[in-house]
Symmetry: C2
Subunit: 414 residues, 2 copies
Amino acid sequence: MALIVQKYGGTSVGSIERIEAVAERVAKHHAAGDQLIVVVSAMSGETNRLLGLAGEISETPDLRELDMLVSTGEQVSMALLAMALHKRGIGAISLKGSQVAIKTDSFHSKARIKDIDATRLHAELAESKVVIVAGFQGVDERGETTTLGRGGSDTSAVALAAAVKAAECQIYTDVDGVYTTDPRVVDGAKRLDSITFEEMLEMASMGSKVLHLRSVEFAGKYGIPLRVLSSFKDGPGTLISVDNEENLMEAPTIAGIAFNRDEAKLTIVGVPDTPGIAYQILGPIGEANIEVDVILQNVGDEGKTDFTFTVSRNDLTRAEEILETHITQLGAMEWRSDSKIAKVSVVGVGMRSHAGVAATMFRALSEVGVNIQMISTSEIKISVIIEEKFLELAVRALHSVFGLDADEAGDPES
Amino acid sequence: MALIVQKYGGTSVGSIERIEAVAERVAKHHAAGDQLIVVVSAMSGETNRLLGLAGEISETPDLRELDMLVSTGEQVSMALLAMALHKRGIGAISLKGSQVAIKTDSFHSKARIKDIDATRLHAELAESKVVIVAGFQGVDERGETTTLGRGGSDTSAVALAAAVKAAECQIYTDVDGVYTTDPRVVDGAKRLDSITFEEMLEMASMGSKVLHLRSVEFAGKYGIPLRVLSSFKDGPGTLISVDNEENLMEAPTIAGIAFNRDEAKLTIVGVPDTPGIAYQILGPIGEANIEVDVILQNVGDEGKTDFTFTVSRNDLTRAEEILETHITQLGAMEWRSDSKIAKVSVVGVGMRSHAGVAATMFRALSEVGVNIQMISTSEIKISVIIEEKFLELAVRALHSVFGLDADEAGDPES
């Protein structure tokens, strides 16, 4: 008998039929003797419907009232799920964020959980009830309803799992796990049985489609085993867990190949190579709340250097405007931009103890004729910026060279 | 400057356009310096949509979860109204039943209000805010969301008006007031400027289409002036107030003509005329939760009597079954039923001090050839049971004879 937190997203509770399917799944776990806390999102489409109503009234609705409005979505799906469980003869009770209580700060629409009172949860579980909790919402110290922002239901589930010391937090979604790379790009992409929190965070470009990153950070921080599963078909899913030695022994060198098309590059040509020049360039960019990803400074001739950095594509225009304003005071000759680039990364905790990952990566890209424009590394990730048109070619080459293709075994680097 | 409670029903907030219209009306009152508490129902159709979802899962959903589900309806409309007021530069805040707090007992789906804490209401009003409150819902002492049952938003409004000692409780609906009779039956039916609580209760057959009767009783009990108005067009509406001497002086003898088609008659022929016979007949009927309206016992020959009573038409079959079971032990000869009857009532507090109302009523019906089958009287009402086919004829004759037709003045009996 284990205490498990399950979270079902919008598509998983998107219709009465789907809610009945969730009830079936919960009933099986309940019959197996598990204690269950079930976190639900709003039925798919409902949050957008509510935001649409608000949008008809105001482009800038008051955030407190917006929370009052959208928090109804989860309340509807949790009550319906409770009814579907009752019909199966299972004791179940739905609780709003305020009833749990999930205590947050007062930043409406993007509140952060401060504390969860587990008293009522334990009391209901002790009566053999399945406890259904509204995801995405909480209550501040004045009793105001708050929401955690989009994707917040994942965070609710992890926070609840931490509060009750659950054995596992299971996130049911419309994919059956985390893959070595995007199956739409590589046919042979495989579901991973397990992945570490750090790898999951670095795999952001794929991971964010599966799990809200804040919830992964949160689970990592509190050491809550997190499992991504499909609510549409049975299967073990992917377990995301702490990076302990036992895991490391078993882990392949490379967990997966991540990529991101949402990159644009800005280059300032002929900047004086003086101390503080990076700050002079990136300071105004940061002040405009534009996140910079990869940075490269080429050593040039005669005290001049080329400075290149990447930003998200939809920040490009604003970044260009800022450079245009500052270019003369930087003493630079010119600047140029390129939005036809992409980032490809190999991710794996194994590279900490395995040498030669970078060499293998660069050789593989070279063999298929892909030129590397920029390189960025961390302890468990190597990223390269390449021309966007080579993206699929590069991902497939790397997926293959690191032995990730389905029906292949082994690791050429080990 | 007055403190006013306004209540807007489902059709009044049935679309974004309608919510904007309500915001306009509230803005006018606010600009005039009134302090406002606005109670809203769910957008029309929303409660039925939610009940439909529950119905797809279970025919007998748990009432606690049903309250959790349907209470979201008001939460949506109140948040949208707050946004519409903000857009007009008016400070406004929406409050759930639990946030006010509107404290109820724990009978889910038909909870009764026990107490309202006016502290927060006064605090928000003191900040010049319009306070929008979810109608129909409350919270029990364990923090569970409860609902007051259908039509409960009227009750919420009256209870709030009593709690804050409001000058008036205004119920906005889709009719512009209470009429002397149903305008669909009598072209000349007039809107009443005022009516007493007692008259309103006796006018139930028409009044119940306008106002939930429980709210009228409640308003009468606490002496809250209640006004029925249209949210679609401007006008003074109908003021429902206490029956004081000043009102009585001005009141016409008869306020209106009420009628009810939902009547069926049962007659037991040849019952022994012994003490307790009425109880022997009506006891089993009452135990089956069937409400009996008019009762008539004819004095017959040789210790035998005919006993007649009326019930709602949809209770007729069950009442017949009960009579069939008991007929022999009653020592009666036979029983018969008739569902082609109707009840017509003249209502008015004035009849307390004006003689001859009954005589005028019976004469008027006689003149148009309507036979009276049964008669029932109270201090401020005389009801007759007639053949259903004469209903319109009787209502028109009475509306005319008591001087209620539009463009007629005076009272022939005074």
